[in-house]
Symmetry: C2
Subunit: 118 residues, 2 copies
DNA sequence: ACATTATTTTAGTAAATACTAAATTAATTA
DNA sequence: TAATTAATTTAGTATTTACTAAAATAATGT
C-alpha cells in the first residue's frame, strides 16, 4: 500500500480524524486519548493509533510506561489545511459527535460477546 | 454526514480514486469508465459513481441514453493537488493496479453466488 | 518477586462495504 | 409496438472493518 492510499484510508473514518485532532496541537498519551473518547475502549483506541502510525500520520514517543502520540502535521501535507478548516468551527465538536454516532458500527458497549478461556 | 466526511470516505478506496482519475481531464460515460476497468462489473462502477456523485466529487450530464461523468475538481479543494501529484508518476498506473489487486474484496468474478427468480 | 499501571495484542462478533448477477428503468431505433 | 442499448437498482455473498473483552506485554514500584 502506497503512502497516499494509507493516508486516505486512515483519514476515511470520523473516529480516526477525531483522534488525530486530539493530538494535533500537543502530544497526548494513549490513555489520555482514550480518556477523551468515552464511548470506545482503550483497545479500540490503540488499534486506531496503530493505523494512524503505520500511515505515518502520527509519531509515537515512549516515556516510562506511557506512549505519547502527536500528529505529524507536515506528513499530512495538503490535508492539513482541510482538517484545520473543519476543526475551526466552534460547533464542530457537536457535529463530530453526531457523526460518530451515525457512523458507529460493530458490537455496542455492554453487549456480551464471548468468553475467553481462563 | 458532512461534506468532509463524505469526501474522505469517498476518496478512501483505490477503486474510487481510479474512477476519479478517469474523469479527471475529460468527461466520460459510465460505459466508457466501465470499459477502462476490466476487472469490475458495470453495476459496481455505477455504485461507485453514485458514491462519488453524492459526495459532490463528480458531476453528471445526461445525453441521450448515456450519462457523462466528470471530476468536480474545484470541489476537491486541497485534495486536488495531492491526487494530481500521485497521478503524475509515469509508473503510477502499475502501482494502482497492484493496489487494486491487493485491496480487492467481495466475491470474485465468475463465482456463482445465487439465482434470482424468473 | 510480586503487584500495579499503561498499553498493545488477540480472539471473536456485528455491521459496513465491494462486489456479482439479475432485474429494472429509460432513451432510442426499427 | 417491440427490440436494442446504456445505465441504475436490487438481492445476495464474501471480505473487511470497528469494535468489545480478555489476555499478554512492558515498565515501574513495593
Amino acid at each position: 500500500m502506497d503512502a497516499m492510499n494509507a493516508t486516505l484510508a486512515a483519514l476515511g473514518t470520523p473516529r480516526r480524524r477525531e483522534i488525530l485532532r486530539l493530538v494535533w496541537a500537543d502530544e497526548r498519551s494513549a490513555g489520555a486519548i482514550h480518556g477523551a473518547l468515552p464511548d470506545v475502549t482503550f483497545g479500540a483506541v490503540s488499534q486506531h493509533l496503530r493505523i494512524l502510525f503505520d500511515a505515518g500520520l502520527v509519531s509515537c514517543r515512549a516515556e516510562g510506561r506511557r506512549r505519547f502520540y502527536r500528529a505529524r502535521r507536515r506528513a499530512l501535507g495538503p490535508f492539513k489545511s482541510a482538517l484545520e478548516a473543519q476543526w475551526a468551527g466552534a460547533l464542530d465538536r457537536l457535529k463530530v459527535l453526531a457523526e460518530l454516532e451515525e457512523a458507529r458500527r460493530g458490537p455496542r458497549a455492554g453487549i456480551r460477546t464471548h468468553r475467553r478461556r481462563r
